[in-house]
Amino acid sequence: MNILVLNCGSSSLKYQLFRMPEEQVLIRGGIEKIGSEDALHTYKTDGQDGQDQTTSQILDHREALQQVIEVVTHRSGVLQSVEEIAAVGHRVVHGGEQFALSSLLTDEVKRAIQDNVELAPLHNPANLQGIEAMEAVLPGVPQAAVFDTAFHQSMPPEHYLYPIPYVLYKRHKVRRYGFHGTSHRYVSSRVPYLVHRDLMNLKVISCHIGNGASVAAIQNGRSTDTSMGMTPLEGVMMGTRSGDIDPSLQEYISRKEGLAAAEFSSMLNKHSGLYGISGLSGDMRKITEARAKGSARSALAFDMYEYRIRKYIGAYVAAMNGVDVLLFTAGVGENSPLLRRKICDNLTYLGLELDPQANDQGKGERIISLPTSRVTVCVIPTNEELMIARDTQVLVSGLESWEK
């Protein structure tokens, strides 16, 4: 069964075609600048060395997806015909309170995604555009939606509510939703393979640290708390996002600097975090380099970043009354041994003992703590696309057996 996994933005999309259940990626690619005369389509098939790219006029998502299908079935030679695509899985950012699981796409599900547009005004409309374009390009092929928020729907109300008038939750669904759910779910699902213990008996703290970053407390396989909130701005310090701040800063800074609400929001989302403190970059690789060369502000940015992640870890140890597994994933989490070491150096009170060699020199999915450590520390490369393909496969298989 071949499953196409799509992640549609407002003017770009990324895709991977999986052969399931082998979980083999047959082709992966992306299109940028949809809606222009010089849209760029790059793709790479399994085993290919370089990548192919073409520039052409692509005016909307439907044209973009037609080109994807054309590349998959003709130009790349990966498939012989469109009939070989059994299903399509879409990443959808916000499922609101309606979706705790992935779902086959029906009119009702689409309406629910539409209902959540206000909660994710940049992402959900683009996701919907991709879904509707795909329906036009591959009519009759089952499609599934996999939500970034779904995994965290298991949070109890005392964790997901903000301590503000309750009526705001009732009226406008103001609450914490959390993000990176598909990633946290994937990496936590890998834990039993590494530690040889059932996830149902483990307390896991998952640190997804990429350009955006979030920490999740996962108890018995279910998310019980996570650092991102109603939007991805809450929580730990990130590349260009501030994470948690005193809400009164908005009133004070806006008055002092004469900022409009949109400017303040842009400041917190795009000019803060590592970039805001270092004045140099939001990219952890550059910060680490500059820190090594003696840049005091890059060192400060690094220390703040590390401290704020560690504080969340400490909070979640308290929230779960303990921790068995601490795991790191995503761009920074997978590739910064220095950050992992600095975090773990100050968690020795938990009986955590890092294995410096495994931390510094190992590659890929691995344990980086010593066998004597009371907390197992792991690095697990994330794979959200695979998770989407798996969910889609399960949903479509269910659909098929039901139809029989």
Partner: protein, 289 residues
């Protein structure tokens, strides 16, 4: 209608502000004016405005570059040939606007929306001499366009329903709020604002209150974001006089007669924010000194 490219004729303050905002929404923009000298000034103005937003964290360096890369400056009207929407924002003179609209009409495709950004003139009259007055409409943006959500969509006598629909669609794509106005001098906003400014000038000239207190009263008492005298400075006092005269001329209603003191300031070259001195003084960024 698939809208990708917008033409703006007239690269003055308003033309620049529209170009910056529209390009910021991801559209390609062609910004035209008569001479290279005016284009140079426009280029400088755009850079300064974007730099200012950058220092206020409203955009990033990359966003500034990408906005500038989407704005093509030129003097040749032929550059408009593939624009789906063209907005003129040349000097507020009936003859100039008519000439420009006729010239635009010759260049663009039959489906293109042609709009005037006039604040006071009659869309019906501006459109009368064009070949297809049914596709001419008024789109009254407010300065600074980036910060002002409102656009008055002004229907001339012959403006077609289809043109109005396209205009509303375009304004929605820009994320702005449209209100429909059936042509009348000054529409909603200018008709309400100009007499208020004029009365504020009279209160000041009669020595009833200081400029600072007049603005403070309207800000604190009525929730105005900026007071009427600062607003006059920001419009440009010469522009205020011109607009009042246009309304006075059109309606012969004395309530639009420009206050003598306002004329005096204009004659003395105290034109407002753009020369850093009007009712108040301003720094090089246009901030109150």
């Amino acid at each position: 209608m698939n809208i990708q490219k917008i033409g703006i004729v007239g690269a003055g303050t308003m033309g620049q502000s529209m170009a910056e905002t529209i390009a910021g929404k991801g559209f390609e923009v062609v910004l035209l004016d008569k001479s290279e000298q005016e284009l140079e000034a426009a280029k400088l103005g755009l850079e300064m405005s974007l730099d200012r937003r950058l220092t206020k964290w409203g955009i990033t360096d990359a966003e500034k570059k990408s906005i500038l890369s989407r704005i093509v400056l030129g003097t040749n009207l032929q550059l408009l040939h593939d624009c789906e929407v063209v907005i003129e924002s040349v000097w507020e003179s009936l003859d100039d606007k008519i000439d420009v609209l006729i010239a635009i009409e010759k260049e663009v495709g039959p489906e293109a929306l042609i709009a005037s950004n006039t604040a006071t003139l009659s869309i019906t009259e501006i459109a009368a001499k064009t070949e297809h007055p049914e596709r001419i409409i008024g789109l009254h943006f407010h300065f600074p366009v980036e910060r002002r959500e409102l656009v008055e969509v002004v229907r001339g006598l012959k403006t077609s329903e289809r043109t109005v629909e396209s205009a509303f669609h375009f304004i929605e794509m820009l994320g702005k709020q449209a209100v429909q106005v059936f042509e009348s001098p000054g529409f909603i906003t200018t008709r309400l604002m100009l007499p208020l400014i004029n009365e504020a000038v009279l209160i000041f000239a009669e020595g009833v209150a200081s400029a600072y207190d007049i603005d403070k009263a309207m800000k604190s008492g009525y929730g105005f974001h900026i007071g009427p005298l600062e607003m006059a400075d920001r419009f440009g006092l010469d522009t205020v006089v011109d607009m009042l005269e246009a309304l006075f001329h059109e309606t012969t209603d004395p309530r639009y007669r420009p206050a003598a003191y306002l004329r005096k300031l204009v004659r003395g070259g105290r034109l407002g924010t753009k020369v850093r001195e009007g009712f108040f003084t301003y720094d090089e960024w246009g901030e109150r000194a």
